[in-house]
């Protein structure tokens, strides 16, 4: 009855080692990587229209690096992402901690409501922010973008914090209190240090979300407050040259660097 295992043939449940599964994995990886690899490869193409390969050049990277409005949009993205990450990490950690620690009336409803920004379609939130700023007559710019980014990233940070706190050993807090430490002391010395990897993970998540955001930013930006993705969209919409590919590659590299940092910190934290 049992499939007799030959020595180096995979066991029935070791799907990962079966030929067909490896083909499936390969096909998926090609599917996932081909467009991006092609995009990066063609950023070096010496052809303005960028349809056929005409030769290797770095001149579109030069153009991208010398493109003043591209610079500015990158700086804008950094400013917005930095401020919104700080605020959203603080606010998100607060709400995450409160949800972890306290029981209160209508808690499930509150949890549902505070996670809404995660599930609602971005376009709904984008137009809502536009309508809001128009109604209260706040001109669109970096301020409105940042405020919107904070609003939509808070729940993500909260989720990360809650997940982190789920593994917290409350007895440590109780021991600390038993030994006479006050509430704030206990918090800063026991609870908070445990939270830190969660806070860092949440901060990096918020930063990436803000940096990459397109739809919500699209509706809340004004002149002079173009962010990097919005600028790339404008370049994609009008006159596509390898410069777009070059700018995109730069964004990919930046995002990957951040991700790598996040992973490194997380793995260090889990070992510590």
């Amino acid at each position: 009855m049992v499939a007799s295992p030959v020595k180096d043939r995979p066991t029935p449940t070791e799907y990962g080692r079966k030929r067909w599964m490896q083909v499936v994995l390969l096909v998926n990886f090609v599917f996932l990587y081909f467009p991006i690899v092609a995009l990066i490869a063609f950023s070096f193409n010496d052809s303005k229209r960028n349809i056929v390969w005409k030769g290797f050049t770095l001149k579109y990277y030069e153009k991208a690096f010398n493109n003043v409005s591209l610079h500015e949009s990158f700086i804008n993205s950094m400013i917005v992402a930095s401020i919104s990450t700080v605020m959203s990490t603080i606010l998100g950690s607060m709400i995450g901690l409160a949800l972890y620690r306290y029981r209160f009336p209508a808690k499930p409803a509150f949890e549902g409501w505070s996670s809404l920004p995660i599930v609602i379609p971005e376009i709904c939130m984008g137009v809502a922010m536009l309508a809001f700023f128009y109604t209260v007559e706040i001109p669109l710019g970096l301020f409105t973008i940042t405020v919107s980014h904070i609003a939509f990233t808070i729940p993500f940070v909260a989720v990360v914090i809650r997940a982190r706190m789920a593994g917290f050993d409350k007895s440590l807090e109780e021991a600390s209190r038993d030994l006479g430490a006050g509430q704030w002391q206990t918090f800063w010395n026991i609870t908070f240090p445990y939270m830190v990897p969660g806070i860092v993970a949440g901060a990096l998540l918020a930063f990436t979300l803000s940096l990459d955001d397109f739809v919500i930013t699209f509706f809340t930006s004004g002149p002079g407050s173009t962010t990097f993705p919005i600028k790339i969209y404008s370049m994609v919409r009008f006159s596509v040259t390898p410069e777009v590919n070059a700018a995109s590659t730069v964004l990919i590299v930046v995002t990957l660097a951040l991700t790598a940092t996040a992973l490194a910190i997380q793995s260090r934290a889990s070992k510590g």
Partner: protein, 304 residues
């Protein structure tokens, strides 16, 4: 867990500011859109506050129902394709030798970390008339043509006509599957990773074939993960805006694009608000349905 009454000050301090932010900069904007949805459009596109259901009536006019149906359909096809591709992918990684799992996972997630706009744009070069897919097909066509000519059948291949893969629903679906595959794969993987292999082995030992085991044992056990994946993929695809905007053609307008059009060049914010809220209600209904099934599912799960 403490009761909030145990420490009202700490509770208030922790919950107050974030709640304030979310109320003012999230709920209030949505409320404004909700109010607008009952308003009217003035002659130059201003929104006049009113109490009219005209926008909602207009939203379910035949022509707009077409867009709604299109969005529902495209999202459904996307979700189906994602689960067909994502399930084996999740299995492959979950059942891979332990030390391969994290690297494999990383490789799958990495493209996900790149910007949505860039990932969608990358497909334009692949799908267009003079794009990589058509170039490859043309190359094959050329080679076959030469082969047949050598054999003495010069006309058999005919001229090459490139596939129309861009600026239509096909392109939008390909783009959406590409973007949402990780959303489908990850929850399924998370469920599968925690799966107790002994169930599978027991099933195989008892004589069930691989397929039978798959459908009778594996799938029911990872159903929460599958459900999560289906849900997220569907909701995200339904409300998508950028992908049909960049990859779609005249036949691929989805709800997100219509909303953007009404808040943009068409300057009918009232109508756009109504559409926006219809999309929201649809999202809520799907989530509520999921929560209901989850509660029932959880009960039966506890029995295992």
């Amino acid at each position: 867990m403490d009761s909030w009454k145990d420490n009202k000050l700490a509770f208030g301090v922790l919950l107050g500011p974030p709640t304030f932010w979310l109320v003012v900069f999230f709920t209030l904007p949505l409320a404004i859109v909700w109010v607008y949805s009952f308003g009217e459009r003035g002659p130059q596109g201003q929104t006049i506050l009113a109490l009219s259901l005209a926008n909602y009536e207009r939203a379910v006019e035949w022509i707009h129902l077409g867009i709604i149906w299109k969005s529902v359909w495209i999202a459904a096809v996307t979700t189906a394709l994602c689960v067909i591709m994502g399930f084996p992918l999740a299995m492959g990684i979950a059942f891979a030798p332990r030390r391969w799992r994290n690297p494999l996972l990383l490789i799958v997630i990495l493209p996900f970390w790149t910007n949505l706009l860039i990932r969608t744009y990358a497909w334009i070069a692949v799908l267009r008339t003079r794009g990589y897919i058509n170039f490859t097909l043309e190359w094959f066509h050329d080679k076959l043509d030469r082969l047949f000519t050598l054999v003495g059948l010069p006309e058999i291949m005919g001229t090459f006509s490139p596939l129309e893969l861009l600026y239509n629903q096909t392109a939008v679906i390909i783009g959406l599957v590409y973007i949402h595959l990780p959303f489908m794969m990850l929850p399924i993987y998370a469920s599968m990773e925690k799966l107790d292999r002994s169930y599978l082995e027991a099933s195989l030992d008892l004589g069930a074939g691989q397929w039978r085991t798959l459908f009778s044992v594996t799938v029911p056990l990872v159903m929460p993960g599958i459900a999560s994946g289906l849900l997220m993929t569907y909701i995200l695809s339904l409300g998508t805006f950028l992908t049909p905007n960049l990859l779609g053609g005249t036949d691929s307008m989805m709800i997100g694009n219509l909303i953007a059009q009404e808040f943009g060049p068409s300057r009918d914010w009232a109508f756009g608000s109504a559409l926006s809220f219809l999309l929201l209600y649809a999202t809520f209904i799907i989530l509520w349905a999921r929560a209901t099934f989850a509660r029932r599912g959880a009960a039966s799960e506890l029995g295992i």
